[in-house]
Symmetry: D2
Subunit: 367 residues, 4 copies
């Protein structure tokens, strides 16, 4: 049991602090014989990298990943893959105040209460920087999925910034990579730009909702009752910094539906396989994939590192106010998109491997 | 790794099907020396038991729990506690159609696709009946918490039925046990009664939102980065049948907040310990408890077992319609309340034990 | 993490005390669709059952196993299988003295020191009776192996009783079931009978060495570096009551070999697959099976429950002497044979499932 | 579940190949606030380092460890500690033949059979070099034990080389560090030097038995029935390269003892606590520590990398002969001594933390 690990057979352990020497991920359980190189991982890391436009932190981190083990002549060997990213832009002087007082809404105080010691430089282990390791590990998962299940496509995007939602009528897959917000709705992306500029200038920050969809997932992944696909996805997404809610399919809105509405009616497809009239289930029934799109959403709270002063206490328990200078994301939800994709890739691969182990070759077909 | 287990040190494995000989829970990691008897567990089971009023399934199950191991002279011994509930009311003839076709929105189809075999009697392992085992295990957790941390109080209640929310202004703890809906708002409870009667009569069902609060939880429980308290709670709640969304504190609404609003400002209390001005965090920062109330909400979809015909396919892949006769809950959210409480109790105890193991005696205090 | 569980994908949790209401095993991860019934498990339990001849304890336990879950119409469903054995012959009055003082060489004292409470009736959880649950679980593993890998044959036997070893020149597989000692050497079996009668009459007990062989195991099972097949076998065998040593292949004697002697030379077989000139490796290299027989041996110490008085202390810390009346095995090694077989079956199946999950379909072949 | 990890709460995952860029260990579950630096770990690594005398491989590896995470201002923070050792002396040209054929008695063939790919440079992941990561992790465990249980002393030594055993009468703790064999018997150490020179000159290798003792371990560590202290030690030691047998206390010799002999009689000590007349149990009863010395022994087979030609097959399945040139240890048992110590340190610490979590504060005392 490691509390810094997730996954059953495809098991990822992340390590490292924001301003320590390095951070990374130990990836165990990767199948052998899969072509992999640092460039393939860098592709995904570059999507998460800060400082690419005015809407993310200006901290400049090349986030260059090194593969230290588990490879031979360009292929995975089935042994643990160690991924390391050196920290290079470590201006820890920016964080002076934070060492003495606790940012409201930040893990500063709970790490201190739990451990009696914490690395205050850039949030230490609680920094969003930890998610770079997840994205690198997700890159390994994507490479394996590319071999084992090339029909699976995983895509994340933002559907809400602050109070502003996208218009689902204007949803356009092609638009997602065309704006700095991974927004599938071009008009909303423009509104968000204006809104976020205001937020940033006023020394404030804002929350967001991210949606991640996995298309092409075969039916039968997931394992009742506590290794459910949705249960694992909920844990994976909730473990991302600043996430406060996770939804599958209809999500919280399912509460307002009737059974008649919520039933995704089934008709036989050309091959006798089920065709669903709707997808309130988000592609998961009883913890097991149905073959429909797997749809997960999560809410990211606004960052607590803001330029507006907030009341707090010091390590000595005295009253004070705090302002977080440093360089911070006005909307951390943006950079959470590639992280959500990475977690989805890891969870789907994990259950694909699990399913091979548990039911391999015995799976029933309808018809 | 067991996919029917949850918890790290306090580890619960549930087993059993709706209409098999019995179901239950294997509880491992229970500390020794705790007074426990079947009556203490029965107290919690009786709250979940169906057939107590017209708003839950009329299936009559005494749900009498037997403790088969792990006890000596009325105290736990530190060895596994086996909890067994015999199934007694097994009219499986009611389920004839379901064996041949799949209920839309139900796990019937995915179990079949995954395993090529399923127990169709009452939903088999996917039945809400499995949650009786969780409630029994939660009773063990409650007994241990009563010794180790008697200041912790765990309470669940419904805050939404269908589209109807409670009015938080009228929130009354005393009301929760006074109506059949665990509703903390008496006037809303009356509205729900009318609404649910209509639903039931029209052969329909409805969703709900349940909130569970743990008061008195000490600061410092939870373990970054993947053994976070909120990550474990999200997995635990999402693993309950029919749950489609989980929120901590402000939950999905956190997306619409600004950083200034979301920051739960801190002032020093009389003892130098932190006092929070608000609780958007739901008592958890960075995956670790703050000492505030831990607040979790989850959405329960409407049951898919309804009297209104729905289109579906048979095991042979042919088109058909299905109506679920049997005896079903028009709002499974009601009976999910004690289940949510049980999951909260197990997760909190688990992290209390973990924290003793990992940081015992070293924990820092503010001031 | 459960400390009463073993196995990765095929996961067994045993529970129960010698003189409580029942004991059993929760078996999770069993593949679906496998034919199974109580009779198949009873077959293996009957081999372990005491009271069948004068060389084992006269305690009469029918050890009738009930399958409480995980089955539908005679086949496994992929959900947890609960196996329960009711305790029926619970003359706990025989154990009066033991409740107050500690048997030297017995877990009485350590359970007390760890937990501050213990079930003294028949040794409670530390009783050899716990191994009945292992044998039942092993029966499930055998049923699955019969479908997935029918070429695998698992056989245990005793190779040493006290100082008396079998003569390997006289090894006869057919003899193993023909004497009360699972002894593959008929002449030695006769000597053991005489020796054990003496031991029993003198109120003493004696140790043994058990060997378990798995034939027909395919190459490639096991996972470096800590999920090695031999590492898992060592843990499994050492977890059996009274076991003090575990050997793979040449075992402790490997220390006295040179590299030239120890190298199991390889030549190509008819099909290009390796043929080994010897099997010092015990069928495992680098933690992975070679395709040769997997050979494990373990030493069972003499039972500490003897009629000869031994010096000890009471729970109050006072000097005393103890004699264990009750009904005890003069050589617990005999009944450990089916237990060792069961552990081997569980470990082999577990690694067969793991291997499907981790390398399924990619495995390389020589030639 | 990671198959390259061991430990429950103090969890170590090793990664890396002999001739890849680096190898190391991810250490999770280390308590916070413990003083630690690279020098403290280097101390233990230097003991394992090859090339220090003519009896170990002449490969020159500085084995310099870097701590990449989990530290702040010289103390552990409770977050994962990443330990990295760069590989520097990677003359992989030495290994040409091995890439095409399989060394008898080596994991070459099984890695190939399992994965269809392997890193042949220096044995890849199956190299004894992996144990450097264990020793580094063991250094962390020692640092923590130094704070939590400074009375615990862990010492390893060789008790047998080839057929030559030490004389227990001449056992001298001080001698262990005084000869290149960690031999507690000076006269035997001289004999071993002569013997090993002969072996080395004849292109042969030899096995050994290592004993590791933990003194000062409190009573009550270990957890029945499958998380037993001896079960975990057996797995830990058997997972070390080339180990073929593990013994606790009397070990395999326990089989030849009678119950009267094997009973470690107990008398009350000055403080009412138990005093044992002997230690056949090796400090463990029922899987739980007694407070006596914990004594483990393991047999290391002779290395399969020898200069004497052996018959084998090629990857193409053709007959050939193989001679391993490179630089190899004539007796790998020597360098296994610090490795065994490291595994003991990790297992003891793990159970110390587990015990705090599971029974903390409730533990019973005798008298």
């Amino acid at each position: 049991m490691s509390l810094n690990s997730f996954g059953h057979l495809f098991r990822v352990t992340t390590w490292g602090e924001s301003h320590g020497p390095a951070l990374g991920a130990t990836v165990d359980g990767c199948p052998p014989g899969v072509a992999l190189d640092e460039g393939m991982l860098q592709h995904w890391l570059d999507r998460r990298r800060p400082g690419q436009n005015r809407f993310t932190t200006q901290r400049q981190e090349p986030d260059a990943v090194e593969i230290l083990s588990g490879m031979f002549e360009g292929r995975t060997t089935g042994t643990p893959i160690q991924l390391m990213i050196r920290n290079t832009d470590q201006r820890s002087k920016d964080y002076g105040d934070i060492a003495q007082a606790f940012r409201p809404g930040h893990a500063d105080i709970t790490y201190w209460q739990k451990y009696g010691i914490r690395d205050p430089r850039g949030g230490g282990r609680s920094s969003a920087r930890e998610t770079a390791a997840r994205v690198a590990a997700g890159g390994v998962a994507r490479a394996v999925l590319g071999v084992l299940a090339p029909e699976i496509r995983i895509t994340g995007y933002m559907v809400q910034m602050g109070p502003h939602l996208i218009d689902r009528e204007r949803f356009d897959w092609a638009e997602i990579e065309a704006n700095p917000f991974w927004c599938p709705d071009a008009r909303t992306a423009e509104d968000w730009a204006t809104y976020l500029d205001e937020m940033r200038k006023s020394g404030n920050s804002v929350g967001a909702v991210v949606e991640v969809v996995a298309q092409g997932v075969p039916a039968g992944l997931g394992a009742p009752v506590y290794g459910k696909l949705d249960s694992d996805l909920a844990a994976a997404m909730m473990s991302i910094n600043a996430v406060k809610g996770v939804e599958i399919g209809a999500g919280m809105a399912a509460a307002a539906l009737t059974g008649v509405e919520n039933a995704d009616e089934i008709t036989p497809g050309a091959d006798g396989q089920p065709v669903y009239a709707s997808n309130h289930a988000g592609g998961i029934l009883g913890g097991i994939s149905t073959g429909q799109d797997v749809v997960v959403r999560f809410a990211v709270k606004p960052t607590s590192s803001i330029l507006t002063p907030r009341r707090t206490i010091t390590r000595a328990g005295e009253e004070t106010q705090i302002v977080t200078k440093g360089r911070h994301d006005p909307c951390v939800g943006i950079r959470a998109v590639p992280v959500g994709e990475a977690m989805m890739a890891c969870v789907i691969l994990d259950h694909l491997l699990l399913d091979r182990g548990q039911t391999g070759g015995v799976r029933g077909l309808i018809g």
